[in-house]
Symmetry: C2
Subunit: 540 residues, 2 copies
């Protein structure tokens, strides 16, 4: 017998930080010294308050809505207790965390509703449409773009629709190599269920341990092994979606010419067009071998050229990423050792291969020849170090915020020829904005997702906190967004739009692009209850 559900409970993520609080790591002395010397961090940040020291406003859920929700999912699955409400307040961007640290829980939902089936989701949406209650679909709660920050105006209340009970493996098709999953499955649980059939999904974003299948689809997630397995929007072959006006079942074939690909309209819709209740993904055989090699290059430009060569001419690795000079020097690939410069200078690439033993051996050897030809030298420690730390980065942010640093990440993407200009422009915008505010930052970046025609850029920025770190970051973020739009990048490679990128998206796709999104939303959500304000501005 194989399992259809995880064999364990659903761990709660830290209420105002990352992951499992037990895994939080203190800052090394070296890093503390670096913060003081290099960034002028001289006082602690606001600490995370205890969960029971914070109280949300009283729930405004109307009685009629409560009754309808109870009728839809059962009384025990309509939670209005403070604990549930606070644990569904906002996502995990630095602004989200800064506000939670200040005790600002103004975005707490009035209730948390936990449906178990597609039909229950339909019933919840119908009830909410009738009672003017906004609905925020909630998976892992790891949005870093304001995706869980609904605009309340015009609604009687807001509920978080937590999909954790929808955690079944629904179907396995071993011939077609597809698996149908419910949306509430977290990354590791989905992988474990699929592994029982000899398969892997291969989707491993940094949020893997906490984020969910539905969230991956809704936000167009991209994993660390995207070069090998594809982005999640490429892995998805079928979608079931519950909307206030009914059900969408999409994906009768891998690819089709039966009109526009409506799956691609749902992927990236971030809960604003419907609630994803089923996801059919392409799966691969479990790889017999996984190796991640480190390679050093003299410069980011040379390293980038090597990545481009591999993805354009092959052999194509499964994992392919490259830190710039600053990120390499700071050794962020080893969060446990940040600040201990074990680096020999230059830039560090991670080149990973997964597959059968023979296939990995062939591709790895061929890649080695290419990388050496292009100036690369092996770094034996870097690959295992990256693998060890691949999901740990966000814990470091909590410790840095504790210590009084302001730290955040952002990302973008463009075609290869424009990558150097975009890299420069976004870095400059962050440095100029924060320096002008009196807090010169350190800005580091890496390429972590590659395509034959282009790549992503992922920036990490850190500086000393001002008295109002939220306003401080908002200015810097606005400067970065402006630089991305002006330099021809896309406002997000894999974090999504949420509320934080909505204005930049409007500039990216133009008024007609916005009109198309607005029209799609109005067609399936005429009362506008779905994640209001996310992706597109509420109807005026």
């Amino acid at each position: 017998m194989t399992s259809t559900r995880p064999d364990h409970g659903y761990p709660e993520i830290a209420w105002a930080g990352w992951g499992d609080p037990a895994d939080a790591a203190p800052l090394s002395a070296a890093l503390r010294g670096l913060l003081a010397q290099a960034l002028g961090v001289h006082r602690e940040g606001t600490p995370v308050p205890a969960l029971d020291a914070v109280r949300p406003s009283p729930s405004t859920l109307p009685d009629a809505a409560r009754s309808a929700l109870v009728a839809a999912v059962g009384a025990e699955h309509v939670r209005e207790d403070d604990d549930a409400r606070l644990r569904h307040t906002r996502g995990r961007s630095t602004p989200d965390l800064l506000r939670l640290r200040e005790g600002d829980v103004g975005d707490a939902p009035d209730a948390v509703v936990l449906p178990d089936t597609h039909d229950q989701v339909l019933a919840v949406l119908a009830a909410c449409a009738a009672e003017r209650v906004a609905v925020v679909p909630f998976g892992g709660g790891t949005s870093v773009v304001g995706g869980l920050e609904p605009q309340r105006e015009g609604f009687a209340a807001v509920i978080a629709l937590d999909l954790r009970r929808m955690d079944q493996l629904v179907a396995v098709d071993s011939i077609s190599r597809t698996v149908t999953l419910e949306p509430g499955l977290r990354g590791p649980d989905a992988e474990a269920l699929v592994a029982e059939h000899g398969f892997t999904i291969g989707h491993h974003p940094q949020s893997f341990l906490w984020a969910t299948i539905g969230g991956f689809a809704a936000a167009r997630s991209s994993g660390q092994a995207s070069a090998g397995y594809g982005r999640f929007d490429e892995i998805v072959v079928g979608l079931r979606v519950a909307t206030p006006t009914g059900t969408l079942d999409l994906g009768r074939a891998p690819k089709s010419a039966a009109g526009p690909d409506l799956r691609q309209l749902v992927l990236g819709s971030e809960g604003a067009f419907g609630v994803i209740t089923g996801v059919t993904v392409a799966v691969q055989p479990q790889p017999a071998e996984r190796v991640y090699d480190g390679w050093r290059f003299p410069s980011f430009a040379e390293g980038t050229a090597a990545l481009r060569r591999l993805v354009q001419d092959g052999p194509r690795p499964t994992v392919l990423r490259l830190s710039d000079e600053v990120e390499t020097a700071l050794n962020l690939a080893r969060p446990d050792e940040v600040g201990q410069d074990g680096a020999s200078g230059g830039v560090l690439a991670i080149v990973g291969f997964e597959g059968t033993s023979a296939n990995v051996g062939e591709r790895r050897a061929a890649a080695e020849a290419v990388l050496r030809e292009l100036g690369g030298t092996p770094d034996a420690d870097a690959g295992p170090a990256w693998e060890h730390g691949r999901y740990k980065g966000p814990y470091l942010r909590d410790a840095l915020l504790d210590a009084g640093a302001l730290v955040e990440t952002l990302e973008t993407t463009t075609f290869w020829s424009n990558l150097p200009a975009l890299y420069q422009a976004v870095g400059d915008a962050l440095r100029e904005s924060l320096s002008a505010q009196g807090t010169p930052p350190v800005v580091l970046a890496h390429v972590s997702h590659v395509y034959p025609t282009g790549a992503s850029l992922y920036f990490t920025v850190a500086c000393a906190q001002l008295d109002d770190p939220l306003a401080q970051w908002r200015r810097a973020k606005a400067a970065a967004n402006d630089a991305i739009v002006a330099t021809g990048g896309s406002i997000s490679h894999h974090h999504g739009v949420g509320i934080d990128h909505r204005e930049a998206l409007a500039r990216e796709i133009g008024p007609l692009g916005v009109a198309l999104l607005r029209a799609a939303k109005d067609a399936v959500d005429p009362t506008g209850i779905l994640n209001p304000g996310v992706l597109v501005a509420p109807a005026p």
Copy 2:
């Protein structure tokens, strides 16, 4: 200096048949015998009338519209002569051709308008929206699904918007390996321009010689080398679209999480959402080597298993196709020799490789091992024969229609596990419908596009014509559509929707899917002038 435009004029396709009339091939005596013996074809079909023997109804283009169109594109580019109007009447499905043979040119546009720039297209659309004139974007005119058959009700007139003058190579980005092309470029001209920069697009559908870049994008075309280069909707990375309400510029990066992928809403919109005026495609280095090998398998099931193995586990060929037993026996891969059974039985696969010499050598050798393991035996003649005949199939249809046979193709797609059921159901539907009409057909099929999770099925059906071959085919086609929808296939893998598949599409994507398409159309085309009736039914 490299060229930015083709160095030759724009050849006209046969007005009521396929391609260049000079290339039309007469039927072999063997095939004539087969038609009589096997299908009971005993009298000639209606011949194609001379172009000057047919007259369309007088143009209903209002004077105000004519003036506005002349102002937009110049008087010489607004053609109302019979020749131009007749040459833009319908597409190239068998029903289209049967009606043209009968002299039914009821769908002739009232004028043919030939813009030269994006801004001219915008001006034409604005004029037509103001004057209630329907607009049929026209590329190569090779639609086989009623994509050029507008519904006139509610409009003062209909124009064909012929994009042949928009035939420039606009930009080459050798670093990103992308090329931006205007929509009116035909396949060979686009390839020739791109080849001057050392690249290939690699998109070679059977319509390659006549169809256009804009048409490939609008209809989600898929080429014979899709296993290697991808479908056209995978090759496209950027789109410029003119609509009655303005311009859409899409594609700032290969992939993005900046909301839904709106490119995928335009791809497959078949002129109903806008006129594609610029297409940026990913290109590959010109392959140094191209080899196409023939392989025999004992049965379609065994051959299908071999295709699935190659696309799932590699090595992945560039071209991968498999004829079923009947198609193999009829030897349709060699249209010059149809009916001369040189086959040794079983089924025939074509396994092609394109790339560098070393890469082709490695993949070919590895594939050979897999194919032998799975029961394949090489057929030395079949590969070159397929290459020789790869664009010739449609000429055969004209000759068969002349001879009194009814012949048409249709296609579908599904996941691998459902492929046998779909193959059986569609074949049965065609055989049953036509046998019940007293004309038992021959039905042949092949798989020509493969994915890790599924594949396409392409059917060719031939029988004797009844007195009303149009009605005869419509009944058979309806039966096939019903079988596709009922068996879980998609109504089209690469032909598109047009008017012929609109009802089946509605069943495939459901009322909410139709509502999404309708909403997108209304957002960009509020007066509904764009290809009315194609893809979605006109607003009631």
